[in-house]
Amino acid sequence: MAFDESGHDEPTLDELQLDALGELFNLGVGRAANSLSLIVKDEVELSAPSISFAYPSQITQALLDSEFKELSMVAMDFSGPFEARAVLLFPERNALAILSHMLDPNMPPEELSEFEQEAMCEIGNIILNACMSALADEFGVEFMGSLPEHHFSDTESLPLFGGDQKEVLLILQIHLSIRQERINGHLLFLLSVSSLHALLTCVDSYLTRLGIR
């Protein structure tokens, strides 16, 4: 991995590492889709079609530039071989679309009340736990996961992403399909540089175990 701690170079992973991570996260979101399907009693599909890395300051800028100013975020902290703050992020409008499918199709499309924030927390909890348990399973490691917290944020204040140049964000695009509607969001993992290295060590030993490396 080429990674310049002081500069702004993109942290890069080799193709094998990226593929492995992409596959593991898709395994995770696949499990989450099963759990969500059980709740809605209808088919929910989830996929994570792309994976990339960025610095917190870049993501703050990207969100500032995007058309969505109101965001719904569910954050959980994980600690184990590496420490990560995981954030599931949907534009608030998309979060409402998910919730209206999950809770009540006739829900007025106004704003997230406390009731809906709680439900959003649970949905984030399901998706994030599924991803982390997939990683734990495949890496043969253990994580400690905190309870989820729901945050609203306009893009002008994104306190969850720190802003420390020494931290890196792993970004997964998330597609959620439910009753013919496709809803997009992002899953972000905020990792310190040493945690990123630890994650990659896990990926490498996983690849070695599979005989790929």
């Binding site: 759990s35 059980l38 709740i39 959980m76 999950m102 809770l103 007025p108 106004e110 009340s113 406390e114 009731f115 809906e116 709680e118 439900a119 927390c121 649970e122 949905i123 909890n125 399901i126 736990n129 982390m132 348990s133 734990a136 399973d137 253990e142 994580f143 400690m144 996961g145 905190s146 309870l147 989820p148 013919q180 509607e181």
Partner: protein, 321 residues
């Protein structure tokens, strides 16, 4: 603090506390749990939790417990997504009525041997009830905000929202959306002849005739302004929309509301302009309004009491039927 003091403190909590060992077997629960489940912990201690509450098998709660034990991951189960997970009752009488407590459940791993998993349960019944009441009130307020106070059908705000939502849906699903603009013929002459009070009464009757002429639930006539009404139809192509339009036109004619000063007939009639499209990414919703308007003017020009369509193949107006 010793164990007895701990247990005493736990019993004073107004929250359910359940402790499991690393195999998911019940170690103990507090007095709150005994009170609301009707089961004493000593009667069930040592048994797997899913044997105590048999309905937990294949449930998300059991899944969460396994995640806590196996991966040390925490979970939350909210009343919105998991109505009344456990058979817990606020009052003993609720059990007979099968009225379960609404619950918010936290499942967290613990590492103070022999405890491996902590389940906390909060009674959300009052909160959920309040939430429902507030929602019902707010829906009622919203309904008032979107209703035309004279005729009782949707108002302009309702129309604007219907159009933008349905237009967006038609665009994303690539299906038809049709717009009908409906105008009462020679309504000014009606007002001049009978006065505004009779005019209002006529508008009310026309509005209900139009609204009652709709089959699909969710379709809503809105008063666009003055004596003009509008209707969006999702999934209706030009032919389907024309059929609806013709039915509505006949319904109003069938009211037989006398209109001696009309240039069209002896009764109150309407003219209807229709436009239907499968919206492309570039097409703004306003275009649909201008096209339906154009069709409406042309219906007026051709003698009123008729439906005209905007023909997209030649971008001009033609008769519907």
């Amino acid at each position: 603090m010793d164990r007895a003091a701990n247990a005493q403190l736990m019993d004073q909590l107004q929250t359910g506390v359940v402790l499991l060992d690393d195999r998911g077997c019940l170690l103990s629960w507090n007095a709150w749990m005994t009170r609301h489940s009707g089961i004493a912990p000593e009667d069930v201690a040592g048994r797997p939790i899913e044997d105590v509450f048999v309905e937990m098998k294949h449930s998300r709660l059991l899944n969460c417990i396994q995640q806590a034990l196996r991966f040390r991951l925490s979970s939350v189960l909210t009343p919105g997504l998991n109505p009344s997970v456990l058979p817990l009752y606020q009052k003993p009488g609720d059990r007979e009525l099968d009225q379960r407590m609404q619950q918010l459940v936290y499942v967290t791993p613990t590492c103070s041997d022999p405890y491996a998993c902590l389940i906390q349960i909060q009674d959300m019944t009052a909160t959920v009830r309040r939430e429902r009441r507030l929602r019902a009130q707010s829906s009622q307020l919203i309904a008032t905000t979107y209703r035309d106070s004279l005729t009782g059908v949707g108002n302009r705000r309702r129309f604007d929202q219907d159009l933008s939502e349905r237009f967006r849906e038609a665009r994303s699903r690539q299906i038809h959306i049709a717009l009908l603009m409906i105008d009462v013929d020679d309504f000014k002459a009606f007002n001049d002849r009978f006065g505004h009070q009779k005019g209002d009464e006529a508008l009310i009757m026309v509005a209900s005739a139009l609204q009652e002429g709709l089959r699909q639930e969710g379709d809503c006539i809105s008063r666009y302004g003055g004596e003009e009404f509008a209707l969006t139809l999702l999934g209706a192509d030009q032919e389907a929309a024309s059929t609806v339009a013709e039915r509505l036109r006949l319904r109003v004619e069938g009211l037989r509301l006398l209109h001696p000063t009309s240039r069209t007939a002896r009764h109150v009639t309407v003219s209807i302009g229709i436009s239907a499209v499968v919206p492309s990414m570039e097409l703004p919703p306003q275009t649909l309004v201008s096209q339906a308007d154009l069709a409406l003017y042309s219906a007026k020009d051709r003698g009123r009491n008729r439906c005209m369509c905007f023909d997209h193949t030649v971008t001009e107006v033609r008769a519907c039927v």
